[in-house]
Structure formats: structure tokens, C-alpha cells
Symmetry: C2
Subunit: 241 residues, 2 copies
DNA sequence: TTCGCTTACTTGTTATAACAAGTTGTTTTA
DNA sequence: TAAAACAACTTGTTATAACAAGTAAGCGAA
């Protein structure tokens, strides 16, 4: 009546949540589970796939299925990402960013609009960065940078964190207009982040403005939905100072 | 040597994204796809499952597999949720909330801490609400309400939107401390929201404070990750007015 | 001792098969 | 005519089977 694979994955789920299986531990092998539940391999694999989809376990070919640690890394959005490195340090996390792409390209139409580019400057700088958390790929940043900044700071932007670096140059980002949502890893993302096709990702999409209300960056930060979260504090509007 | 199910789902994915298959349209049936790709049913089903996991299609038993609409409903976090109804109206969305549970319970420990309850008032009001978007379940709100408010406004809270109602009563929420993250539908959620086990959900978790810095609500809003997003504007810290 | 092979485990992919269950339209029956 | 039964489709669940591929440990040869 109720499906076998659901009965099994629910039972395993309870055992994981109540600590019968601890994070890092290995689940019994498919063969063992087949015997103890007296079902076929396809059913066991379906049950395990349910657990994977719920983010409770991860499987590694040739090794086994392992219970996940369920602690997330927090991005703080209270001030616009200037203190990202400090935040990570505070959480005791080894946060490394690796430059993948940095090139001048013809601006896509939506970027042109968002960055308010004139027809005479049809190019932007595109940067892609990979974030490693404790040596594990955790996310990807795709940023479009206004041409004058991209050209001036081409070297430094490839080595340093964007927001703190710009701040040090006296380029103060006053406001981020942003959207947070969920997507799914496509082929490219699943290869970069070493996750399954369709793995849930958190997307932080933003446009960054200076005090003069000039848009200078448009970015998209995609990170593993099972490993990251965003914290923010929302206050009632106050009249301008 | 790349896997068959990935080759197939990638091909279908391209066709969906380039408009060969339009949202609302039906994919060819498993039998037809088996024939045209000359693979077994298990491979076709795996390929379709990839598309489901990428949020591109949805399957209905007995009917077929249909291409999803990929437009999301936006929750605006610019001011703390007072204008939710107006926001939805502006997006042309039929937003209905249905009370599921409203009861006085013994406060769980973490809620007790978050709401700063004294040992003499060990109870809180627990409310669960289901949100329907255009008559489709879209999310669930779980809210813990400080006992005095819960008792005083028991009737109204079950009928009206929490934030606008409190505002009208002169209870002004000044600040929300919140976290946005991704989870996965467990059994209960998948039944409420009519989605698969493990379906990605967006979680908005918050504590609401009055101007006197008193926490009065703790809530958790879980909504379908494929249907919702949150927008926010982040400004640089300004000195208090 | 160390390198490389074999072996025995693990999970991953794919095929074939049978039946369950939901949907829809047609046909039969009361 | 209207309700019930049926047929022909759809996707969903489960079983059996074979082989691929990754891991790890042991064993033997250089």
C-alpha cells in the first residue's frame, strides 16, 4: 500500500535524525540493506536516493553511503559583503576563492541595462570565481564589472576579494539590490561544484551601487544549498539622515 | 562514454530552454522517447527524473510529463512583511492563507530562548498556516507567538495576515532577525505542498522585535523553491537617527 | 621493502519484465 | 438518456540480471 522505498527511507531517516547513525558514519551497504529489509536492490537504491534528495546522506562510488554533517556556513548580509573574510574566519572556516575567468566581453543586454552602460561602451568585464570551503568547492561567483573598473584593477580583482578590495580603493558600495532564490545545478554547475545534476543551489543575485547611485557591479553567487545560508536583519524604514 | 540518461536529459533540456517545447506543453510519452532514443524505459525515466530535479518539468501519473512555467513569485523583504498582500496583488497573484493549527503549547526550549520567555510563562501559541498561490499550495508558515498576544488576538490571528494585523493594532514590528536557507521536503511537507519527497524548499526563519526590542514572534516560512524568491535591498549602516 | 596485480568489496548504469494505478474516451448496459 | 464497464493510453513501483567502475586490502614478485 504505502510505497516500500518510502517506508525504508523514512525508517533510515528517523535513525539518522535520532543519532543511531552519526554524521560521518557509513550506512550499511546496499547488499546488507537488501537482506535486512528483504527487498530488491532497486528499492533500496530508491530509498537511498530519497535520503540523498533530503540532503541527509551522500554516496561515493566504490566506498559507500555516508551520513552528512548538517551544519551550514552563514553568509552575513548585514553590511554588503565587505566583511566576508572576517565572517568566515569567525566561523572557523578556511575560505579560498580561485579565479576561473576574467575577460572583457560584449555586454549581454540585461547586464547593459542593469549597469546603465551607454551604447559607446558596449563591453564589460566578466569574472568567474570558484569558492572553496575547507578545500571543497562550495560555490561560484559570476560578476559583471563596469569597464573602467575592470580595466583599472584587472590584476587585483583576480587575486583579491571584490568587495573589500574596492572598499580599500575608496570605492564605497552603498547599496545592493538583490534577490535570493533557489535553482538547480545544470551540467556545468554540477561539474564545477562536484554535485549531482539537479542539486539545489542558493542564488544571490545583486546589483551594487555607489553612493552616487551608480551601478558598478552585477553579480550572481551560486552556492550549494545544503551547505550555505544567508543571515540578514531587516529594519523598518527610517527617514534619511 | 558519457551516461545515456545525461545525454538524453541534456538534449531535452536544450529543447525546453530554446522553446521547442513550450511551458504547459507535454513531453512525448516514455514509450515514444524509448523508441526515438532507442534505449530502455529505465534510462528514459532517469533522464526525465533529471529534468524534474532541475525543475524543468513535472510529471503526473496517468497523464504525462509537462514543461513547467519558470516564473517565480517574489516576496519583498524591504519592509518587514507588512505589505505582503499588496505585493501579491501587484504581481497579479491570488494569495490565500488557510489556518491549519492554532493552539497553546508548552514552548520548546529554543523558542523559549528566542522569545525571551520567563520560567513562569512556559507556554506559547503555535500557528501553522498554508499558503495557496492561485489555488495551489505554495508554502507553509509555522509561527510561535508570545502568550499575551496569542491569547488576546486568538480569533483574529486565525483569520488575518499576522504582520498587517499586528500593525493595525498598533503593535509595530521594528526589526526582523532572519536567516534564509534551502531545505528539502520531508514526508509531512511533501504532503502539505503536494510535491515529491526531497523537493527543494526556501526557508525564511525569523524573530520579530518591537521598537522596545522585545521579541514577540518566532517564525519559519517554508515555500516551494521552484516557485518563490525573496528580494531585498541592503544598505550601508547609517548612524541611528 | 616496495611496486603492481588480483580479489573482493562498494556504488553506478542499463536492460527486460510484470503489474499497479491514474486518466480519458468509447462502448455497453440498465 | 445516463450510469457502468471497458479499453487504451499514461506514469509509478518493484523484481531480476548483468556488467561497469571506483576503492581498499592483501599477496606475490622484483
Amino acid at each position: 500500500m504505502t510505497k516500500l522505498h518510502i517506508l525504508i527511507s523514512e525508517k533510515l531517516r528517523r535513525q539518522i535524525l535520532n543519532g543511531t547513525y552519526q554524521p560521518g558514519e557509513q550506512l550499511p551497504s546496499e547488499r546488507q540493506l537488501m537482506e535486512s529489509f528483504e527487498v530488491s536492490r532497486i528499492t533500496i537504491r530508491r530509498a537511498i536516493s530519497n535520503l540523498v534528495n533530503q540532503g541527509l546522506v551522500e554516496s561515493q562510488q566504490g566506498k559507500g553511503v555516508f551520513i552528512n554533517h548538517r551544519q551550514k556556513v552563514t553568509y552575513s548580509l548585514s553590511s554588503p559583503l565587505i566583511f566576508l573574510e572576517q565572517d568566515m574566519q569567525r566561523q572557523g572556516i578556511d575560505f579560498v576563492s580561485r579565479n576561473l575567468v576574467f575577460e572583457e566581453i560584449l555586454a549581454p543586454k540585461d547586464v547593459k541595462v542593469a549597469l546603465n552602460l551607454s551604447p559607446e561602451e558596449p563591453s564589460v568585464y566578466l569574472q568567474k570565481k570558484l569558492f572553496l570551503i575547507n578545500n571543497d568547492p562550495g560555490g561560484i561567483d559570476v560578476t559583471y564589472i563596469v569597464p573602467d573598473l575592470g580595466k583599472t584593477y584587472a590584476q587585483e580583482l583576480q587575486q583579491k576579494m571584490t568587495f573589500p578590495f574596492l572598499e580599500k580603493q575608496g570605492i564605497r558600495i552603498e547599496r545592493l539590490d538583490s534577490v535570493l532564490e533557489c535553482t538547480y545545478a545544470d551540467r556545468e554547475m554540477s561539474e564545477y561544484l562536484e554535485v549531482n545534476l539537479g542539486h539545489p543551489l542558493l542564488v544571490f543575485r545583486y546589483t551594487a551601487f555607489t553612493a552616487e547611485n551608480r551601478p558598478i557591479l552585477q553579480g550572481e553567487s551560486l552556492s550549494r544549498g545544503d551547505r550555505f545560508c544567508y543571515s540578514l536583519s531587516i529594519s523598518r524604514d527610517r527617514p534619511p539622515v
